[in-house]
């Protein structure tokens, strides 16, 4: 039986050299990221943008180098992951006097989880959810209310936040399941406004003041709100929250990727790209849309609950329509149905406006322009487009012949 082949122009490297390349790239990215955050002055951003463009240009001109790097990453995947893990683990400790930035990174992390949930709906399934912030708020308020009124521990409320959001979204979705896509957009917008108005007006949600003094995360008595002391240095309390959201993000990324690289992923993609073709090939459209919508909202809700127990104080202005649009632009920037892209998009769109304080006022304008420009010129997102490979089962690089033909 024939095999699927892939052109390869990469150079061969010895294992040691290969590992060095992989670690070098990971290390360089980490250091650049750190520099971006730690150096206050604006020139660093410009310098890094120029550097990034230069690197992209250089790689395009020398495709064998790009191919070599990619192959080495494939060969030494374990090393790459370990390197990234080390970088991620030491990162919070580099934020020694920088509680502000650590906080931003934590928030970006919660948006990674939420955006991946939205990506399942919008990117994978083609369902327009313009109530991302409202669902985020449902999760946050569920967690906050359960903790404040009934004293439930944050871990339980986290789960409940996700579940309540998912279940409420089912009720929202069922009426419009059989209608066209733009009805869902309308219904989610209506839901978004209704939720904010209700949160603002209902007494038990605290009205415009919201909920205060929500207990923060704690583990066996160790409150996350304590500063971390290591080697005689005192690190900001956010270090604790960082590790939690790191764990949550990593789990979400793995889950999202596995869903994408599976029958679920290809089914949703077909529903998104051509419902009629899907229907006549035996796909039960409504069932899968419902699943994608509710599972996506589960993640959005859980990240909202995380937010509640991290910041301790939530109020309606946190969950307005504009925030939903931010979430949508993250998915668009990252590329619809592109897990890595969405992660990158969340980091960029949440952290960059903080970095550029002087344009922070323009951030919503920038979000809007991002939407327009990306969709017109690069709807597949900032990262290069890759077809589904079922985690290596189908790609050229890993394919072996079963009939004695040539392979790569």
């Amino acid at each position: 039986m024939a095999t699927i082949t892939m052109k390869s122009t990469s150079r061969k490297l010895s294992p040691a050299a290969g590992i060095a390349v992989v670690l070098g790239v990971v290390g360089a990215v980490f250091l650049l990221f750190l520099a971006l955050i730690l150096i206050q002055e604006g020139w660093i951003l410009i310098a890094e943008i120029i550097l990034a463009l230069a690197v992209i240009y250089y790689l395009k001109r020398n495709p064998h180098i790009e191919a070599t790097i990619k192959t080495q990453f494939n060969l030494h995947r374990g090393v790459a992951i370990m390197g990234a893990a080390v970088a991620l683990l030491i990162f919070p400790f580099t934020m020694y006097e920088n509680a502000y930035w650590l906080y931003n990174v934590v928030i970006a992390g919660s948006f990674i989880v939420a955006a991946l949930g939205l990506n399942l709906q919008l990117g994978s399934g083609g369902m327009v959810n313009l109530a991302g912030a409202a669902f985020y708020g449902v999760g946050a308020y569920t967690a906050g209310l359960l903790a404040l009124s009934w004293g439930w521990p944050p871990w339980l409320t986290l789960l409940c936040g996700g579940l309540v959001t998912a279940i409420s979204s089912i009720f929202l979705f069922i009426p419009v399941m059989k209608t066209r896509g733009h009805y869902l957009a309308l219904v989610t917008i209506a839901f978004q406004f209704i939720v904010v108005i209700l949160l603002d007006n209902l007494e038990f949600t605290g009205g415009p003041q919201g909920l205060k003094n929500i207990p923060l995360f704690s583990l066996f008595g160790y409150s996350f709100n304590t500063e971390v002391e290591l080697f005689g240095l005192t690190f900001p309390t956010y270090v604790n929250f960082y590790f939690l959201i790191l764990l949550m993000s990593v789990v979400t990324i793995i889950v999202a990727n596995r869903i994408y690289q599976s029958w679920v992923g290809v089914t949703l993609a077909t529903i998104r790209d051509d419902e009629i073709a899907a229907k006549t090939s035996g796909v039960q459209i409504n069932k899968w849309k419902l699943i994608a919508f509710s599972v996506g909202n589960f993640f959005i809700g859980i990240s909202g609950a995380f937010y509640a127990h991290t910041v301790g104080f939530i109020s309606p202005p946190n969950f307005v329509f504009e925030k939903s649009l931010v979430m949508v632009s993250i998915v668009i920037l990252g590329g619809m149905d592109n897990v890595a892209g969405v992660v990158l998009g969340a980091i960029l769109l949440i952290l960059l406006p903080e970095k550029l304080r002087f344009i922070s006022d323009y951030r919503y304008l920038i979000y809007g322009l991002v939407l327009i420009v990306m969709l017109i010129f690069r709807p597949k997102g900032i990262l290069p487009f890759k077809v589904r490979d079922y985690l290596g089962l189908v790609s050229g690089a890993k394919l072996k012949s079963t009939k004695g033909g040539a392979e790569v």
């Binding site: 313009l130 957009a185 309308l186 209700l198 038990f204 327009i372």
Partner: protein, 328 residues
């Protein structure tokens, strides 16, 4: 006032709001009909119209005759906004009009944000509410206990007038038939020699002009405008178009009035419902529950939206029927 009189007073308010919503809704329905596009920037075009009027007033407000200034504000705002409408259509919407509707929907979403934020950032002190010149005659007259404002009548008549004009345009002119042809079957229209691009441009001119007019009316009626009135107006306009059946102009008008009436009636009735429910539940176990219910007048919009959602459940193609979208 007798209950009937209260009802009629509310109906009049409802009609006023309804005309504004209708004008915006017609734009939505036209865009869907002609280009298969859900234009989420349309509400912000409405807002832009009112701000254009402000700019024009700053320039020409000193002119001697009030009626002249009013005319200028309306016509000027409509022209300027139409230009913005067509330009953005060519730049942002046309490139994605062949892509799936999801993409164009999101592009217009971004466009709306861009317009809204541009006004907020670049108009002097754009984030603050702005006073709109009070140029329409003050006061009104009474029929029994019902008070009818002069500006109500003017705005209503203007609105009805422009709707009739647009209707004539669509049904009696060559350009109107072109619009209807493209809306029904773009390919066939092209083969008949219709200049589709120009027809789309004209559709956007009409839609933007109507929205701008509504924006100016809004300014005159409420006395103040703000950069964010477009978001809600867009959502409501879209809902109204959907209620009436997307692609159907009469539907949009019906939908607009319906939404306005529901909203106003809800605002009127809610306090009495709240009052009666509270007294019914007093001293019972339900008292706490009732006091937590969202029955304040600020929730009139919630009621209206809930009606919209319910409506979609039972009649998703709208009152007058949506145009058929996909060919197999």
């Amino acid at each position: 006032m007798t209950p009937t009189e209260v009802l009629i007073q509310q109906l009049i308010n409802g009609l006023m709001v309804g005309i504004l919503y209708s004008l915006v809704a017609v734009g939505f329905t036209l865009y869907f009909g002609v280009l298969d596009v859900i234009n989420f920037a349309h509400g912000d075009v409405f807002m832009l119209g009112s701000f254009m009027a402000l700019v024009l007033f700053a320039a020409f407000g000193a002119l001697p005759y009030t009626w002249l200034v009013v005319l200028l504000l309306f016509v000027g705002a409509m022209i300027l906004t139409s230009i913005v409408g067509v330009v953005t259509e060519r730049l942002c919407i046309k490139p994605v009009s062949q892509s799936p509707m999801l993409i164009s929907l999101l592009v217009t979403l971004g466009l709306g944000i861009a317009i809204r934020e541009s006004v907020r950032l670049f108009y002097p002190r754009g984030a603050d509410p702005k006073f709109f010149p009070k140029l329409l005659p003050d006061g009104g007259f009474n029929i029994g206990n019902i008070f009818i404002r002069y500006d109500n009548i003017i705005i209503f008549l203007l609105g009805v007038g422009i709707i009739i004009v647009v209707n004539l345009l669509i049904t009696r002119t060559k350009m109107g038939s072109a619009i209807r042809a493209v809306a029904q079957d773009k390919e066939a229209a092209k083969m008949m020699g219709v200049n589709v691009d120009r027809t789309v441009d004209i559709t956007f001119i009409i839609g933007s002009a109507l929205a701008a007019m509504a924006g100016v009316m809004y300014g005159f009626y409420y006395g103040q405008v703000m950069f964010n009135i477009g978001a809600m107006a867009g959502v409501i306009g879209f809902s109204a178009a959907v209620i009436g059946g997307l692609g159907n102009i009469y539907g949009a008008i019906v939908g607009g009035f319906l939404f306005g009436l529901i909203e106003t009636l809800a605002a009127a009735i809610l306090p009495s419902i709240s009052l009666s429910l509270t007294s019914l539940a007093a001293n019972t176990v339900f008292a706490g529950f009732v006091s937590a219910l969202p029955l304040g007048t600020e929730n009139k919009r919630v009621i209206a939206f809930l009606v919209v959602i319910l409506f979609l459940v039972f009649k998703p193609t709208g009152i007058l029927g949506e145009k058929e979208y996909e060919r197999v």
